[in-house]
Symmetry: C2
Subunit: 329 residues, 2 copies
DNA sequence: TTGTAGGCGTTATCAC
DNA sequence: GTGATAACGCCTACAA
């Protein structure tokens, strides 16, 4: 490995002069600088990240932690993060799995963005307490070194639920996510609030898993007990897709016999026939904001928690209730 | 930051004793070891990755480089990589974008797995020449420090093409990937070889992009010049999905008017109606093998290039040509 | 403008 | 078994 020492030797100067030259310090002659740079290039010199991190006590790397590498939501989210990171001179690395957690306490990364329930609150608070900087996207957690950038789950679930009610549906299924999912819990809370203030509607909860398979199982249940038009709110799009696919094998039609709405507006939904109604938000912006907030904390700035707003996308997968249509006639 | 020096002071021993104790050396009393470990825990000691990397000249981290974070192929692939890495005491980080390339020469990672055309061959050879270890999944590149783990693109494309021919189709469209994609070029070569030895078939190439939008555009073209049943080989599944979705807006039916086959067998295809015919291979195995090979090179082992084998999945998206059915009657 | 020297946190080679 | 001590490659007062 070629180090500044080798350059110094070859250039006949001291290592500090080399360091100054390489770092663009003004306290070095243009002449010596260019000589040093030439030699550095000639020797294929590349600075050693470990040595620099050790000395400067920062790595200029931000880590984002995901539960797994699957999942359609992540593409734009990560792109948004990377864009902001790179613009600010940081690199972004994506990690997954318990083993990788060490990167934060061992200071391989300067800060972490968390979207992974494999991190417990206790663990995150422990790191925060030791002065590591963290942004959480998947929970509420209060600490001076932790910033929250959360989706407005309640608003989204409220929009979706009210939409179904407004369309006149009287039997509404809710397909939930995993029990420990913050998103699922939040969305469910909002659904219940709407349910509490709505009369004449039958509410049925089906436990799901935020995966396609959960949507398929839900579809089977809905088909099994079908008595007339029903509405279904899958708490994420992935389950809605599974639901659709299972239903496509039957004679029931989405938007006619079964009215379906999802949550997330993942890319694929725009390709579905009929277009899936869902809750939209900018994944890119979410990621970008998360990175921004983290970098601000890293620079010692004070930041407030942030919220990502959502909108309703009306798709043909939800039509007016037949009953209501009859009434209108 | 608490270092071994702090532990040494508190335990009344030297830093070398602490280091030995922490690293499980046998040359330290059980008594002193347990005392040291207790103090380490008490002080919340965490080793510093940069210092260790600097000294040991390795980071125990492997980096995988992707063109972008989207793409349905990546989930299982990355999981396969991670599994092997973790089992061997390495961590896996996912990187994207030109800025992140520096991680390799700066020795932040011990080796790289490349699936990203933002790396030029020249760049990779330069790194290999400087003794960095690399596994490539997306090109042929010969160097002692570079190992190839490539998909058997030619076999896959041959299987797909021959399947269409066997089913009696006489007008076959090929929707390609980007010009600079190794996969696209390889697959296309195989198609041409089949075409050269097949008579009475009209071959039509449509330039695509490996994305859904490319499939949609292709569908429009096929619809526009429709005169009778046609077969389409989309060189990846993502385009096939775009193709299907566009066609779903018309009265043409997949498997009847248009016969469609893809490549990759991404998860979603199994949910499609009708089931998409495609070329299958184990993404998890591909990733696992890539990691294995890289770790072997890192340990100084000699390795041969590897190949990932593929199989044909017959789906209802490809039926017999109507013409042939007539002949058979 | 350049050089000297100390230190970042670890590991590893010596002595004792 | 334990303790000095010298690296690893880089940065940065401070001195010259």
């Amino acid at each position: 490995m070629v180090s500044i020492k080798d350059i110094a030797k070859k250039a006949g100067v001291s290592i500090s002069t080399v360091s100054y030259a390489l770092n663009g310090s003004s306290k070095v002659t243009d002449e010596t600088r260019s000589k040093i740079l030439a030699i550095a290039k000639e020797l294929n010199y590349v600075p050693n990240a470990a040595a620099r991190s050790l000395k400067k006590r920062e790595s200029r790397i931000i880590g984002v932690f995901l539960t797994d590498f699957k999942g359609d939501v992540y593409g734009d989210l990560l792109d948004g993060m990377k864009e902001v990171c790179n613009a600010q001179g940081y690199d972004l690395i994506v990690c997954s799995g318990k083993q990788a957690h060490r990167m934060l306490p061992e200071r391989m990364i300067d800060g972490a963005i968390i979207l992974d329930h494999a991190f417990t609150n206790a663990e995150l608070l422990k790191y925060a307490e030791r002065n590591h900087k963290i942004v959480v996207l998947d929970r509420e957690l209060e600490h001076p070194n932790i910033n929250q950038v959360l989706l407005d789950n309640k608003a989204g679930a409220t929009l979706a639920t009210e939409f179904l009610v407004e369309q006149g549906h009287k039997k509404i299924y809710i397909v939930t996510g995993p029990d420990d999912s913050f998103d699922s819990i939040q969305r469910m809370k909002a659904v219940k609030m709407v349910a509490d203030r709505t009369e004449d509607v039958e509410w049925i909860e089906i436990p799901g898993d935020f995966k396609k398979s959960g949507g398929e199982r839900a579809a089977e249940r809905v088909i099994g007990e079908y008595t007339g038009p029903a509405a279904v709110f899958c708490l994420n799009d992935e389950m809605a897709i599974g639901f659709c696919n299972r239903l496509a094998e039957t004679d029931y039609r989405i938007g006619e016999h079964v009215h379906l709405i999802g949550f997330d507006n993942i890319e694929l939904t725009s390709y579905m026939q009929p277009r899936l109604a869902t809750i939209n938000y900018s994944k890119r912006k979410w990621g970008a904001l998360a990175s921004e907030q983290l970098i601000k904390i890293l620079s010692g700035e004070e930041v407030e928690h942030e919220r990502i707003y959502v909108t309703l996308i009306k798709g043909e997968s939800v039509g007016k209730s037949a009953r209501q249509v009859n009434v209108a006639r």
